[in-house]
Symmetry: D2
Subunit: 166 residues, 4 copies
Amino acid sequence: MRRPVVGVMGGSKATVNVSNMAERLGALIARHGWVLLNGGRNRGVMAASARGAKKAGGTVIGILPDKTAAKASPDLDIAVLTGMGDGRNVINVLSSDVVIACPGGLGTLSEIALALKHDKRVILLGRDKVAPALERYRKRGRLTHADTPEDAVEQATAILATTGAQ
Amino acid sequence: MRRPVVGVMGGSKATVNVSNMAERLGALIARHGWVLLNGGRNRGVMAASARGAKKAGGTVIGILPDKTAAKASPDLDIAVLTGMGDGRNVINVLSSDVVIACPGGLGTLSEIALALKHDKRVILLGRDKVAPALERYRKRGRLTHADTPEDAVEQATAILATTGAQ
Amino acid sequence: MRRPVVGVMGGSKATVNVSNMAERLGALIARHGWVLLNGGRNRGVMAASARGAKKAGGTVIGILPDKTAAKASPDLDIAVLTGMGDGRNVINVLSSDVVIACPGGLGTLSEIALALKHDKRVILLGRDKVAPALERYRKRGRLTHADTPEDAVEQATAILATTGAQ
Amino acid sequence: MRRPVVGVMGGSKATVNVSNMAERLGALIARHGWVLLNGGRNRGVMAASARGAKKAGGTVIGILPDKTAAKASPDLDIAVLTGMGDGRNVINVLSSDVVIACPGGLGTLSEIALALKHDKRVILLGRDKVAPALERYRKRGRLTHADTPEDAVEQATAILATTGAQ
């Protein structure tokens, strides 16, 4: 039986605070026995969450936009090389049982939108605003907020219980 | 020399008002001699904008998520069949010299985000709100609003003049 | 009603003979009123077939592996920019009503295989050998040979008549 | 440091003999400590190789053409859901450090071609013929034959030693 896959999205640039948060999130995901999936590059939220999961003994899979692993985080267990640029964003969300979105920019926003479109639950971690277009998903409880990695992981636990992914 | 390509994004469901607006937009794009590019299906903003362009003698190219043309609008000149689902959204925006986003949902939001990420100018037509994540693009003038198709096309004319696509 | 789309595949490097053949093929496709679809780059069979079609007043659509048009043939009417590398090969064949494969290498071979897999008829132009894996398709008449562009286009006419694409 | 990833390609229909061979191959890959990557579906060579690797305690990653896991092999550790149909074939080969191709049809042929195009070494297991278009790769030693899974894995060991993937 497959272990749950938790997708961690977020910016390729991250402040120290966001990096620390992503690293802690990665560690918690690993300790729950979940697979951490992200965009795989050695930058920002991707690098930090992979590092946190790896240090905690977890499994990390990166779905890279590139066709080689030259820009891959050293903490990936598996590098899926797509060579498809942002065409791979939809793969990130389809392959995740639940998505946790850390602060990020346009790529992250596209992933939040695609995740909700494909009926994935999305947890916004450390993001205080919601796009007006997404407001209806917040009202339906498909899109939720978390203030801390602990809170996000607690929500993920509940979501995974209902989706049968755990 | 290639004619400018104007991408028209928007919901696969559309109110009568939005449909009428998209149809008028399509007609205006055709009259300017631009190619209209959209998601190609026979629904919502896609169907309406294609119909408008076609009636006005324009050229319409649809980038479909499907691997057959079964769901294609009858008004396409060319149906590009990707079989890639929403993986094709990035193709829509990369292939457009400028993007006009009509009201829509999550797919449209993902396209707006991807368009801005790839340095395309985006004109929001008949949409009154902007996602907080996009606010900075509005301030920089990368993302603008238009109230009418006429206004959108006027903005597109100016943008195409600067990008050298026209 | 959409015009038939004839996909022309072939090497990004081409001898003078192959180039001349591809250019003549492009011209014939244009004269039949079909849309010519190819990989869009300004090299080899792609460049030659586009040039031939364009000179003859035809319509050419290129499905590029790139995310910009920097390497596009100047003879394209529409450049579809995928940013997906060889992930776009499947788009080439799905979007073609019939495929004509000129001499080429591995990319072309992948397109022949994918075309047959998706039930497209494939005409091998100026290629004298058939892969053993494809032999069964030759026996069933799904894969045929043509010695000249004229022959290929005659076969395409018959195929398009049966597929209802014309 | 990432473990080597060995891609196993092959038909979605397989004879009993081929299935047994693929299962033994999967077991050997697992015992070498390599990750087995395949197309992920619960059929043919995909299902058999995954089963073999799983029984031997290995790690299996499936890159599915689908957008849900409904057709996934039960022996996958990770299901990468692309929703891209055969557009995902290029991902299979880009993500593999070496490719072992079991008997198969058109999809497998497309993967052999794409693998060689992207400079991956390909081992043909239990396939006696080589496409004429691929003959030059055989001569250069980029494409080799193996009669047994043991032979294939021995070759893979040597290849991985030179590519630095192990």
